[in-house]
Structure formats: structure tokens, C-alpha cells
């Protein structure tokens, strides 16, 4: 992973001034057509976040919430399955969603760093979910009317689900932020820790430019502004404050991850990889 002191826009070039945590090289192995890479980014975000949420199953703070988190996890894994499936089709190397999920290395994963961080306490999970949900809703809303029919259809379906996720996570952020002193402090600490991972969500690079050719043209600045407005509104209701002067982390889109992803994958892929070629 790399650390950049940049606004998201400055990352357009995909080349960064290496900082203290840099790993040599700017990009992991690539996947041919830009649309494939683009779909992997969307699919991997949802797979990894869904996986993290599913770790709560049976361990939630109250039964009702256990069920709610599982619903969100299911929606996310379901969306990732469609996105990876489409990526595999377009890649044309006979890899289906499972092959992409279970037989890629960490450096071949394209998710943003924020989704791979360990689940933390419930406040961390909810704050991460909220920041991601708001990003997902504004992004899918734009993608639902993009010129790539396959992706637009998936986006339209997922958008409905994600709007509910956002409603759920927003309410929880407010409850925790404006709850007890302990809950306020915990969730503020989570926000402080997570904020540096939000810049990556609105980065633009050559892949974003290249997919314009297949009808995908997102105005990241406009999306970022919409996202900020949702986030500011909820954080204000929650009496929480955005940390100042945050150095944004980056790298997931290029396969440069935190160390957490490797551990997640070694668990997730263990059975599938122990029996290559098996059907389940």
C-alpha cells in the first residue's frame, strides 16, 4: 500500500510519489481489457466487504442486528458474484466468478483498502459500512444509467439493496455517535482511523479513462461531492467530526494491499485451493 498526500483528483496519473510504506512498483498483474479490471474493482469491493460482514454471523450485539448484518453480507456477496461473473465472461479465459474469487492471489485483487481492514468492534464495522454504503449508492446510481448494458443492469439491482444498507448504517452511526459517551468515543475513533481510506474510493486512473470507450463515464468529482454531502449530514446528526489533514492511503486498485488481505484470502480460499478442480 502507498500513502499519498493528495486529493483524489491528483491520483489521476496512477503514478505517485512513493512515501514511507511504499511497496516497489505501481501496479500488480493486470487483466487485459480495462472493463475486466473495472468490474474486478467493483466485484472485489463487495466480496471482501461481504466476507468481513459475514464474520459477524453468530456474534452480533443483539439478535436483530445479527440478522441485519447477514442480510447486508448476502447482498454484497450476491452482487460480487454477478460482477465477477461478468468480469470472467468478458475476460474470455474460461474463469467464472468462483475461479476469480478463490484462485487469485492478493496482488491480483482490486478492492479498495477500506473493505479489507479487520472487522474491529461493531462501531468500526458500522462506520466502515456507512462510508462504503454512501460511496456505493452514489456510484451505482451513476452506473445504473451508464452505457454498458451488462454493468448497468447489475448496478440497478444492487442500487436498491444498497439504498437500504445506507439507511441501516446511517441510523446506526447516529445512534452510536449520539448515544452514550462510550459509544461516541468508540465510533469517533473508528471514523478517525477509517477516514484515511476514503480518498481511494474517488481516485481516477487510466482504467477509468479507458472504460469510457465502453460507455462508462463517471464524474468522480460530482460523485465525491454527493458522497460528502451524505456523509456530512449523517456525521453531523451523529455529533461526530471528520479528522483534519488526513494523509490518504491508496493502492488497492492496483493490487497493493494492506497485510490484512492476505490473511483474509488464506482463510477464504483454503478449502477451494486444497481441492483444485473439485466441484462443491
Amino acid at each position: 500500500m502507498m500513502v499519498q498526500q493528495t486529493t483524489p483528483e491528483a491520483a489521476v496519473s496512477g503514478v505517485t510519489t512513493a512515501a514511507e510504506l511504499n511497496v516497489a512498483g505501481t501496479r500488480g498483474p493486470s487483466f487485459g481489457e480495462p472493463i475486466v479490471e473495472y468490474l474486478l474493482r467493483l466485484g472485489d469491493d463487495r466480496l471482501i466487504l461481504g466476507h468481513r460482514l459475514s464474520e459477524w454471523c453468530g456474534h452480533g450485539p443483539i439478535l436483530e442486528e445479527d440478522i441485519a448484518l447477514a442480510n447486508i453480507a448476502l447482498d454484497l456477496v450476491g452482487a460480487s458474484s454477478m460482477l465477477l461473473g461478468l468480469a470472467g465472461e468478458l475476460e474470455g479465459k474460461d474463469r467464472d466468478a468462483d475461479a476469480l474469487a478463490f484462485f487469485r492471489e492478493g496482488v491480483q485483487y482490486r478492492n479498495a483498502l477500506i473493505v479489507e481492514l479487520p472487522r474491529g468492534d461493531f462501531g468500526f464495522t458500522i462506520m466502515r459500512q456507512f462510508l462504503f454504503d454512501a460511496y456505493s449508492v452514489v456510484t451505482l446510481d451513476a452506473l445504473a444509467s451508464c452505457g454498458h448494458a451488462g454493468l448497468a443492469a447489475i448496478a440497478a439491482k444492487s442500487l436498491k439493496e444498497d439504498k437500504y444498507h445506507l439507511r441501516h448504517s446511517s441510523e446506526w452511526v447516529v445512534r452510536l455517535g449520539d448515544g452514550t459517551e462510550e459509544s461516541h468515543n468508540r465510533v469517533q475513533a473508528s471514523l478517525n482511523e477509517l477516514w484515511r481510506y476514503t480518498g481511494e474510493l474517488f481516485e481516477r486512473d487510466t482504467i477509468d479513462e479507458a472504460v469510457a470507450a465502453v460507455g462508462i463515464t463517471l464524474d468522480r468529482d460530482a460523485l465525491h461531492a454527493k458522497w460528502e454531502s451524505i456523509v456530512n449530514d449523517v456525521l453531523q446528526r451523529a455529533t461526530l467530526t471528520i479528522p483534519e489533514k488526513t494523509v490518504m492511503a491508496s493502492g488497492g486498485r492496483r493490487g497493493r494491499h494492506t497485510e490484512h488481505l492476505g490473511h483474509l484470502l488464506s482463510v477464504m480460499q483454503s478449502v477451494a485451493r486444497a481441492h483444485p478442480g473439485a466441484t462443491w
Binding site: I62, L63, E64, E65, I67, A68, N71, H168
Partner: protein, 112 residues
Amino acid sequence: MAASVKDSPNDISSNGKDTDGQWSLWEVFTQPGKGAPHEHAGSVHATDAEHALQNARDVYARRGEAVSIWVVPADVIVASAPGDAGPFFDPGNDKAYRHPQFYKVPRGVRVF
């Protein structure tokens, strides 16, 4: 016995926190399809109305069983007592004239 009906059914302040620190109980009614009546599905614990709605949605509409949900604080529901069953409901039993079968119609005529 069912002690959920409290003395002051309108005391909303009891919502959110029960005496033992548990979230209060809400009864959930789901409408299985447009135009159908809402039916009792079960209950959830929640701190406020929006929370109860979300919990009800996640618990009782996981399989798309509902197009609409009502949630009602359990302690504001007023119910008839089993002991009243006789005086409350028996008088309705012998009023045959309230039912269409009471009325004779000439053979072969379709009334509706």
C-alpha cells in the same frame, strides 16, 4: 401470564428501555401483497419506531414475504380478556340474519 399489557398503555416513555435494560418489544404486522390485510407476523426488540421498522424488515421480510410493514409498541395494544369471551362474542353467534344464507331467493335466480 402475559404481562405485556401495562397499566398505562400510552406511556411511550417506556419504549427504548425496559426495567432490565432490554430494548422494548414491538409487534410486527406484515402485508403479504398489495390489497391484502396486514397480519401479525411476530415481534422484535427495538429502541424506536424507525429501528423497529428496520428490524422487522430484516427479520420478517427476508424472503420477500411483505410489501408493507406495521410496527406497534407491544404495550399500547389493548386486547379483550379471555374471561370476556362469552359476553363479548357469544351475542354475535345467534344473529343468523347477519349472514346471507338467512335469506331465501327464488330457485334459479342469480342474485350476484
